[in-house]
Every structure is written in structure tokens, then in C-alpha cells.
Symmetry: C2
């Protein structure tokens, strides 16, 4: 690294060495990793024989030495050709990028793998995260693999079942008498005082780089062609921006010829500040004070990358669209029953939005479309079935069976 | 197929064409797929460029036409080198075969993929299974992908949360006023009367072939070398026999040079009829009347393949060992916190047994050992944390934090 990569302030452009920093000293803007793409020599053959994880794209990720990689096998998940769902919607070339089968069962393994690897590279002695969901599990698992202590900061009143997975990986659960904001603040302070690598705070410049592999992989899996249209579930906006950056970088290093991907943002009605902005053709984001949706991982009322996500969508001629909780549940069942893929609500938002765009005539039947399905349905079984519901019981007799079997 | 494969009675040896049958007409013994291995021409290069699913071993699986394959991407899961766990146990070459990241999050996707593909090949109009767990989900998902109706037969009093996943894939849940045996019986009758492919009953000869890919893959992932020792979680015994058959077949077709794999059976104390037999150096299996273990998927008191599993273990000079529920929970946490892999109890039984064998001096530190981790911890969150337990909450203050952060 070093020469090929620097940290650059997104606001004022000031450059820094890629060390343990995340805020510009001049203007307090966020730092981002910038690559001297002209100096990076890669071609299709570079990757062909490499292991099937996101680390196959090593040259385009912010790490100096391969020996520091903390790899649980995140990434290079299946790009699933969804023929039955496509037929139902009147489409011809529909794909699901299935991130439910990542090591901790969500796309967050990608940024966590990069951030924890970087923590190791920077010589940090612990990592952590303020998170109550997918990110907590992803960080804890990669910390376990790396042999680093891991601190997960949560509000004390969240359901204990939500942190079972992170706790199993051996993370220290720090339950705060306060809100998620309080947990976030304390995690940030812990990072400063104890040199803890807080993956989505002080390691954020590196962390967000992991998600752009969702753009890389789709192109490689389509034979190094960019799709026509991708639909991205959107919370903070960081994932959407990262996917877009992925396509741009592949074009810049010459791995794809054309990059005319339309990038669509999908959000739930109960929290859709980015989609609302796009619908008004503006990049001014009105915060949502009280997000209210079953897609908890998208319930971010003040999206940190909202303005950049809105711009990416508008510049690429994608759409912003939202959907109700009911439409999300229907979409979970639709995807599972047509394609055998079981997603949590956030992933189903993309399917619900696809359905809407088709109904509104905004999708060409021939388009190559990719829906990002980012997390696993086993994480949220409560949304598809109330725990009290029981199927109707029948007597174990053939004459009763005859009424059930469809012929 | 046809020439390369026949169905053969395991008891009397009578041969049949590989059609929709599973019991010998002469002696009512179970039928198995036999291959004319000498006529199957494969080598390492055959597989090198194929997709990363169990179907890469097409020539060694019981299907005539590739067009019938129902592929959700099951198989070719990571063989994870477990360095931190190995170090903890004083071992040098320990691997985890991580089947938690299969499409429906357990190894059952392997036999389900083969059985549902075969159902399509045989022209059956529906599939089903009596199952309350992993197999129900695996069958339902593959049926969804194939566009076939799927019937899941369950006792009416099981927890509804256990069938959420199968129901999400659109399976018809047939809840029986009766026991699991009643459900099994009705499923078998439904198979006979309505020509339903009941994956683990009338499609069983094909179904069990899917699991032998767990033997194939380990050898390919070790560079076409057999490991020295594998530890297999054992319920019915079918998986253990299939893994053994996988090693044997690779040797027969010349893909591995030597096959001296010791095969060890791991069972929970609350239901260990096969291990009990092995410990007494006999293949006579005493049924367990009331299995009692948190490893529900191994709670099979009358194991159908018990006798064959016991023989395989003794012939290969493996061991039979069991462990308590407490040891299982400890092993779940040990694996998760050292390697970042979160398993359900059945998978942890192998880790607990490995620990015991090491303590008993039965394992050579240099051995190449593979533990099969067959299902996902998200399926059984209740075993690692009582739903009522809450972490201790702290005030969001730095001085309190100072007591928590280890330095």
C-alpha cells in the first residue's frame, strides 16, 4: 500500500497516510480511502484462481500485507439466477446476490472482515462496535478468528435474543443504561481512550471498503460485465455508495468495459429519508425522527451517507422507491417460495421495490437486474410467523389427508 | 446413467433399475445406489473448473441428466483451517467442514438437493418429508426452486418457531394429531398413494447419496488427499456411512491414493446407541427408548443405519464417543469464540468429542483431523442463552467503562 492508497477528506480533499484516523484535522470531514487506480495492475486472470472470498480483490482493498487478513470466507456468495421469480414478474434476466450465506449470515461480514484485518495491521489490541444486529455478530466472529477482544455496545433494553450470536462468539456485551445514541457515544469514547478499533466509527474509512466487493463480485459473476440495474437496500446509504464505487473502480482499472448501471435505493416506508429526497429530486435529506419498520437494520433516521446515496441514485438514473411492512413480509414469502432463499426484512425490501417498479412500468423486461439480499431470515423468524400461531392439526388418517394433497 | 448405476438390495444383493423404488421386492431390504466405478472416467481436472456446489461431482451422483438438477448452491462449503482451536487443544492440523453456510443453513441441503432433483427426473408431481427441523427447510427450499409442491408432516405439538423456515419457502405444513411416528407413517402412505417423493423415505436410496459429497469435498479441498481422521455427528448413522462411502469411491476411481481415514462417531449422552455399541465392540444396537438431549437432530433412538455406522467406525479404527449437554454448550462457545463459527448443538458434538479424545490420548497431535459441523447456530439460539437472561447494564460513563475494558 502506501503509494497506491491514501486517506482523503470527502469535504476538503486533504490527504493523509492510511493510518488509524477517520476525521479530517482541517475541516472535520470524513476520510475515505483513495486509490491510485492507474498504478494498480490487475486483469481477469489475476483473480481467476484465487480463493472464493472477498479477499480475491486484495489489490483493491485497503490492506498492506496479506498476512494480516482475517478471513472467515466472507464474500463471493452465489449470484443466483432467479428464473421462477423473474417469470412471475414478467422479467427475463433477474439475479439475486445471496448474502444470506456469509459466515455470520449477512453482508456485514464484508466490512467487518476488512475492518478487523486493518485493526490487526494497525496493531490495535481490541475491536468493537455499537450495534444490536448483524454488525455485532460479524465483528465478534472476525475478532474471534483474529484472537482479538471484542466489545459490543448496546442499549440495555434490547431483546436478549438479538445478541445471542455475538455473545456466542465470545464478545463482551456492554449494556448501556441509555439509548442507542448513548451506546454509540460511549463506543466512540472507548475507541479514543483505549485505542479500540470501533469498526463503524474510527475504522470507518476501511470498513466501508468491504461492501464495494458486492459490486465487484456481481460483475465477475456476470463474466466481467456490469448489470443494467441493481436494487440496494438502504439504511445509512453507505452500502449503496460502496456498490457504486465498486462499479466505478472496475471500470477505471479496465475490468469492465462499460458502467451504465442504474442504482436504485430501496427503503421501508417507516424510514425512507433517502428515497423521499430522490422522489423530490433533491439531495437534501429530511431526517426521520421515529423510524418505524420491521426492517430494523434499515431504520436509520439520520443517514450518514444519505446525501451521497441520493446523488449516486440520481446520477446513475436509478430510482428511489419504498414499501410497507406488509409488502416486505409478502416479499420474504415470495422470494422464499419461488427461489428457496430466506431473507430478513432488509433483503426483502429490494424484492418489494422491484415488484413496484415493474408495476409502474419503470423496468425493461430485458434488463439484467440484480437485487441485493443482504441478510438471513433466521435472524428475524418473528416477522413471518407470530410465535403463538399453530398450523391446523389433522387426525393421522388417509381420508383427512385426501383433502390436503393437491392433485 | 443406466449402465453405470443400479439399485442394489443391501441385504440380498438383488439388482433393480434406478427408478422410483426403495425396498427390495424379495426380502424387503433397503435399496442402495451402486456404481460401476470402473466405467466412470474422472480425474482431478474434470472438477477443477466446475461450479462450487456438490453437483461438481455429477458422475458420482444418481442423476441421468444435468437438466434435472435442482441447485441452490448446496455444498462445496469452506474447509476452515482451525488454527486457534487447534492450538488450544494441542493439535497441528485441525479443520472444520463448515456446513452452516449451506443455502438453508445445514448439511441437509445436500441430500435434499439430490432427492428433489431425482423427483424431477422421475416425473413426480410433489415432494415431502416427515421432519421438524433441518430436513424440512432443505426439502421445502429445493421444492420451491424446482416449482414442486412440498408437504411437511409434523406432530401438531412441536414449537411453531421450528417450522417457520419451511413454511416461509411455501411448504404445506401437515400437522398430525399424534407423534412423530404417526407423522412418519402418514408421510409414507402419502408417498405410496399420491406418488409423492418423500425424500427420506421412498427417495431414500438417492437422498443418502447427497451426503457422501461431504467426503468428496474434504479430499478435494485437501489437494486430493484423504484426511487421517474425521469426526461425524451421528443420528441415524446415514451421514457417517455416506462420508465413508465417499472416501471409498474416491479411492476406487483413483482420485485419492490412500484411504486410511479413521471415522469417529460422535453422539450426545442422551441418545448414543451407536457409540454405546462401538464401546462394547459390537454392531448390535440397543435402541434408546426416550432420547433426551439438546442435540435434537441427533435424537434418534432406533438408528436405521446404526449397525452399518458401527461397522464403519470399527473397520476404519475410529472411535465412538459421547458428551453431555453441558459439554455441547461449552463446545458451541469454544468453536464460536476461537474460530468465529456458530453451530447448532449437533455440530458441537464433534468438537466436544474431539476434546475428549485428545484428553484420553487417542489423538496424535500431527493427525489431519476434520470435524463436520453440520448446522447453523441461529436455528437453536435458546441453547446458548436463556431468553430471560439480560446482560448487566452499566451507566454510560467512562469511569464505569474503565472497569470493563481489559488492558
Amino acid at each position: 500500500m502506501g503509494k497506491a492508497q491514501v486517506l482523503e477528506c470527502r469535504e476538503c480533499g486533504k490527504e493523509y497516510d492510511p493510518t488509524f484516523r477517520y476525521i479530517c484535522e482541517e475541516c472535520f470531514g470524513p476520510l475515505e480511502v483513495k486509490y491510485d487506480l492507474a498504478s494498480i495492475k490487475v486483469n481477469k486472470e489475476t483473480f481467476a484462481s484465487r480463493p472464493k472470498s472477498l479477499w480475491r480483490y486484495f489489490e483493491l482493498l485497503p490492506l498492506d500485507a496479506k498476512s494480516r487478513i482475517v478471513d472467515l470466507g466472507a464474500g463471493y456468495t452465489p449470484l443466483h439466477r432467479a428464473e421462477r421469480l423473474a417469470k412471475k414478474l414478467g422479467l427475463k434476466n433477474l439475479y439475486i446476490k445471496n448474502d444470506t450465506v456469509n459466515p455470520t449470515f449477512s453482508f456485514k461480514d464484508r466490512p467487518a472482515s476488512v475492518a478487523v484485518s486493518k485493526a490487526l495491521g494497525l496493531g490495535l489490541s481490541a475491536v468493537g462496535s455499537p450495534s444490536t444486529g448483524n454488525l455485532a455478530a460479524a465483528t465478534a466472529a472476525h475478532a474471534a478468528r483474529a484472537g482479538l477482544p471484542c466489545y459490543i455496545f448496546i442499549p440495555w433494553d434490547i431483546e436478549p435474543t438479538k445478541i445471542v450470536q455475538a455473545a456466542a462468539y465470545g464478545a463482551e456485551i456492554v449494556a448501556i443504561k441509555g439509548t442507542y445514541d448513548d451506546a454509540n457515544k460511549l463506543a466512540t469514547q472507548a475507541g479514543e481512550i483505549y485505542n479500540i478499533g470501533v469498526v463503524n466509527v474510527n475504522l470507518r474509512p476501511y470498513y466501508v471498503e468491504g461492501s464495494k466487493t458486492l459490486g465487484f463480485e456481481v460483475c465477475e459473476q456476470l463474466g466481467w460485465e456490469a448489470p443494467d440495474h441493481v436494487i440496494v437496500p438502504t439504511g445509512s446509504g453507505a452500502l449503496l455508495c460502496a456498490v457504486g464505487r465498486g462499479f466505478d473502480q472496475l471500470e477505471d482499472v479496465g475490468l469492465i468495459r462499460e458502467n451504465n448501471v442504474k442504482i436504485t435505493s430501496a427503503q421501508p416506508y417507516g424510514c425512507s429519508p433517502i428515497v423521499d429526497a430522490i422522489k423530490k429530486s433533491t439531495d437534501v435529506i429530511d431526517p426521520v425522527e421515529k423510524p418505524n419498520t420491521i426492517a430494523k437494520s434499515l431504520a436509520i433516521g439520520e443517514p450518514g451517507d444519505g446525501i451521497y446515496a441520493a446523488r449516486t441514485v440520481m446520477e446513475t438514473k436509478g430510482f428511489g422507491e419504498n414499501c410497507t411492512d406488509g409488502e416486505i413480509v409478502d416479499a420474504i414469502k415470495l422470494l422464499a417460495s419461488t427461489e428457496g432463499i430466506f431473507t430478513e426484512p432488509a433483503g426483502a425490501v429490494t424484492i418489494a421495490v422491484l415488484k413496484k417498479l415493474v408495476a409502474e412500468g419503470k423496468i425493461d423486461a430485458d434488463e439484467t437486474i440484480v437485487c441485493y439480499v443482504t441478510g438471513n431470515g433466521l435472524k428475524t423468524p418473528e416477522v413471518v410467523s407470530a410465535p403463538t400461531s399453530k398450523p391446523v392439526a389433522i387426525d393421522p388418517k388417509l381420508e383427512v389427508l385426501a383433502q390436503i394433497i393437491r392433485r
